[in-house]
Symmetry: C2
Subunit: 144 residues, 2 copies
Amino acid sequence: MNSTHVGSSHPAHDLPKLTKNQGLVFDVLSAEAGPMTAYAILDALRSEGFKAPLQVYRALDKLVEFGIVHRLESLNAFVACSHPGCAQNETAAFAICERCGGVNEFTPEKAVECLQAWADGAGFAPSRTTIELRGTCRDCMAAA
Amino acid sequence: MNSTHVGSSHPAHDLPKLTKNQGLVFDVLSAEAGPMTAYAILDALRSEGFKAPLQVYRALDKLVEFGIVHRLESLNAFVACSHPGCAQNETAAFAICERCGGVNEFTPEKAVECLQAWADGAGFAPSRTTIELRGTCRDCMAAA
DNA sequence: CGTGTAAATGTTATATTATTACACATATAG
DNA sequence: CTATATGTGTAATAATATAACATTTACACG
Ligand SMILES: [Zn+2]
Ligand SMILES: [Zn+2]
Ligand SMILES: [Zn+2]
Ligand SMILES: [Zn+2]
């Protein structure tokens, strides 16, 4: 697949015209079911001419800024956004299965309200919020 | 301060008899106002004979397991628990000021309930939950 | 008290994740 | 066309974390 993203299975949001490297990184992440580390992305793109981590990290910085890729802090890994709304600056939450490595993204609106209520009381002004659940997904629970 | 923790300013919980290295690491973290990286802890303990990162990481693993130290995933750093309850396996949340580096720990009971409700619906069994707010604290807002 | 076992420690080397620094190329606006 | 901002290439290095293996200590049990 080239960097025009035609036929991407992911929501188009309003993609801000990705550059060549940004497009390559986004394609690789979108084609992957689960999260990938920056170095896994690098390896996947060596055939496209990538040679240094910085090529990946710079693209990831932008994609995260655009809201179409998320960083999973507890994994030091990245995942393509799997639902609309994130580009509108909503906080996303992630359920990460420790058995199969799968990641399920959801929008924790109520939880965010509760955290915002705490922040209001504490005089804390949040700029971004990380919510990550580690555990076992439904399929892996069933397969136990 | 030696490793007996007499006079520690932190709640005693029910400390499970820390070993020498665990005690040293806990003392260093407790004496620090904010979070510390593993390597900062290592440097602080070179005078006590520490020479390798593993001495710190092994102690941290146990202290986190005991619930008296928390890992801040978005900082790759560690902080001594600043309130009781964590040893009872409650989920802690952290408000991290990007201006001054200060960390405020709190117990997000309502938010955890909301997340648990989502998990129940999704058939996801969480084992541990990360909640970290990045932003600006009250003092730094005022000093703006 | 011995003795077996689990836990903790010491040490070296290595793996993984991320950034700094600097040169060069490309896009876009005026 | 230029000025400026943004993106890219590349090498070197920093920061974070783990693997592997030998040795020591804690402590339950006979
Ligand atoms: Zn998203
Ligand atoms: Zn699973
Ligand atoms: Zn705590
Ligand atoms: Zn502050």
